[in-house]
Symmetry: C2
Subunit: 304 residues, 2 copies
C-alpha cells in the first residue's frame, strides 16, 4: 500500500501505519512526510497537560464530545514520556475514549516516548504533520505533566491548557512552577468535588505571584461536561496556514536542539575531569567550557 495517498484520502489504517513509521524511524517515513507536506493547513493544536489524576483523559473525552457537537473532526495524540509500566496505565485511560470508536470524525493514538527524550519533540511535531495533512479540524496533544516534554509540547500547541483538580496528591501543590508558566488557560477539573473552590483560590493566589500575562481560570466537570463548552471556545476555529506551520516547526526545532544540548552537557564525569584540569592549571575555565560544549555537541546528533 502506498501510505501517503491512502492517508490523504482518509484511510485510518494508512494513517496509523504512517504514524508508526515516524514513531519507530522506519525506512520511508521521511518520504511519507514529504509526500503529505503540501496538504497541511496549519491545524489548530490544543495542548493538554497537568497533574497526574486531574482527570485529563476524561476532560479530553469531553472536549472531543463538544467538538463533535460543533461538527469538527478531531485527532487525539497522547504522549507518554514514561516507562513501559505506565504505558499500561495510558492504555487504560484510553479505554474511556471507546465512546468515540465508531465515529470516523475522531482518531485516538498513543505514542510512547521512552528511549528517545531528545527525539520526542520532533517525533510529535512530525506526527502532528501527518494528522494535519489527514484533514482533521483540530489536534489535541495530551501529555502527563511531569518534566520537560510538556513544556516542549506547549511550544508546538496553539493553545496550552493546564489541568488540575482538588484532592490529595493531585492538587495545586503538585503543579510545578514551570508548567503554570506555559498555560494559556488553567482548568480546575472535578468541579463537583467539595475542594474545587479551595483549589481555585489556591491557583488564584499562585497566579497573583506571577508577573506574566493574565491567564483565564476555568472550572470544569468533565464527567458531566459542565464548563467544557467554555473551554472549547478558546480553541482557534480556523486553520492557521503556513504561518502556523512555521511557528510550530520553530518550536519543534528549538525543543529538539535544546534536548540535544541538555543530553550532551549532562555528562558530569567528564565535567569533573575538565574542572580538575582547570584546578591543576592545565587549562582555563573559559577554554574548558568552550571545549566541553564543542566536544559534547560534536558527539551529539539525531539518532534517526
Amino acid at each position: 500500500m502506498d501510505l501517503a495517498p491512502a492517508l490523504l484520502s482518509g484511510d485510518r489504517r494508512a494513517l496509523a501505519r504512517a504514524i508508526s513509521a515516524v514513531e519507530d524511524q522506519r525506512p520511508g517515513h521521511e518520504a511519507v512526510l514529504a509526500a503529505v507536506a503540501s496538504r497541511r493547513c496549519g491545524v489548530p493544536i490544543l495542548g493538554i497537560t497537568g497533574s497526574p489524576g486531574a482527570g485529563k483523559s476524561t476532560l479530553v473525552s469531553a472536549i472531543v464530545d463538544e467538538l463533535r457537537k460543533r461538527e469538527r473532526t478531531v485527532a487525539v495524540l497522547a504522549v507518554d514520556p514514561s516507562s513501559p509500566v505506565s504505558g499500561g496505565a495510558v492504555l487504560g485511560d484510553r479505554v474511556r475514549m471507546l465512546d468515540h470508536t465508531d465515529d470516523v470524525g475522531v482518531y485516538v493514538r498513543s505514542v510512547a516516548s521512552r528511549g528517545r527524550v531528545g527525539g520526542l519533540a520532533w517525533t510529535t511535531a512530525s506526527i502532528v504533520d501527518l494528522l494535519d495533512a489527514a484533514g482533521f479540524d483540530c489536534v489535541i496533544v495530551e501529555t502527563v505533566g511531569a518534566g520537560q516534554s510538556e513544556v516542549d509540547i506547549a511550544g508546538i500547541a496553539d493553545l496550552t491548557v493546564v489541568v488540575t483538580a482538588p484532592g490529595a496528591g493531585d492538587d495545586v501543590q503538585t503543579l510545578k512552577a514551570g508548567i503554570l508558566e506555559v498555560a494559556d488557560v488553567l482548568v480546575v477539573n472535578k468541579g463537583d468535588l467539595p475542594g474545587a473552590d479551595l483549589a481555585r483560590r489556591d491557583l488564584e493566589a499562585m497566579l497573583s505571584l506571577s508577573d506574566g500575562p493574565e491567564v483565564p481560570l476555568l472550572t470544569t466537570t468533565a464527567t458531566s461536561g459542565e464548563g467544557v463548552a467554555g473551554l472549547v471556545d478558546f480553541i482557534p476555529s480556523q486553520a492557521g496556514g503556513r504561518a502556523a506551520i512555521i511557528r510550530r516547526t520553530v518550536a519543534a526545532v528549538r525543543a529538539t536542539a535544546e534536548h540535544l544540548v541538555r543530553e550532551a552537557l549532562a555528562d558530569d564525569a567528564e565535567l569533573t575531569t575538565l574542572a580538575e584540569r582547570v584546578v591543576d592549571g592545565e587549562t582555563s575555565i573559559d577554554k574548558a567550557a568552550s571545549r566541553w560544549v564543542s566536544r559534547a555537541i560534536g558527539e551529539a546528533g539525531p539518532t534517526g
Copy 2:
C-alpha cells in the same frame, strides 16, 4: 611590580590590580592566576542574592561586622550584572561599607558584568581564586537577584542566602521561583518593620509549595545586627581544600558552558529560516536542530 608575590604577601593594591587584570582580560592575567593557584585553600564562599531593596548591602556589612568579631578576615565581591546607570547605585551601596575601610582584614570590591554575560561566571570564579589565594578566611559574593547570573553564583557559593524584606516592591512577590530554589538559607531582613511577620508567613507558604529540601528561614535586622550572628553560624568555618576548589570550578565551567550555549541558541532569525526550510521539505526537524546547534556552537566560544 610583580603582582603575584605582592598579592600573596597581603598587598591590597596588588590584589586590586590583579582583579582588574582578570576583569578586563588584560595580558598576563592568566600568568597571575597560575602563579597564585597553589596558594588557594578552598575558602568558604557565601553567596548573597535577593530582591532589590531588601537591604542586601547593609546585611553584608552586618555579616562583615560579625565575622570580624569572630576574628575572621573577609573579602566582599559585589557583582553588578546591570547597566552603567545602576553601576552608580552599586557604588552608592558600597558607601555603607566605608565603616570597614580602615580594617585590613576586610576587602571590598565591585565588578561590573555588563557586556560579558557569557563570561560572568568564569570571571567571578577566577576573581574568587585570587581572593582565596590572598588568604581571606571567607569570601562573600553579592549579586542583585535579577536573572541567570545569581543562579550561577549559587553554584559557586558554598552557602547561598536569599534575602527579602517586607514592603511594597521588594517583598516575597518579587522573588522569582528560580531564586528561591537556589537558597540554602532564606532571610527576611528589616525584621523591625511591621510587615516582617507577614513576609515570613508568605515565604513559609511558598516554601510549603516546594518539594525540595527544607530551607532554614531566618529574620534579621541588619541595621541593628539582630539575627545576624545566627546567619553567620551557617557559614562553614573551615576551608574546604582541593575538593571545594574542584566543586566551585565544576560550577563555573558548567555555568560558562550554559551561557555559551544560551547565547549561541538565542538567534531566532536563523531559527525561523531553518524552520522554513523544514516546512518546505528541504530538511527535517532533527537535522535542522542538529545543524543549528553545531553551527551555533562552532561560532560561539570565549571572547577572551
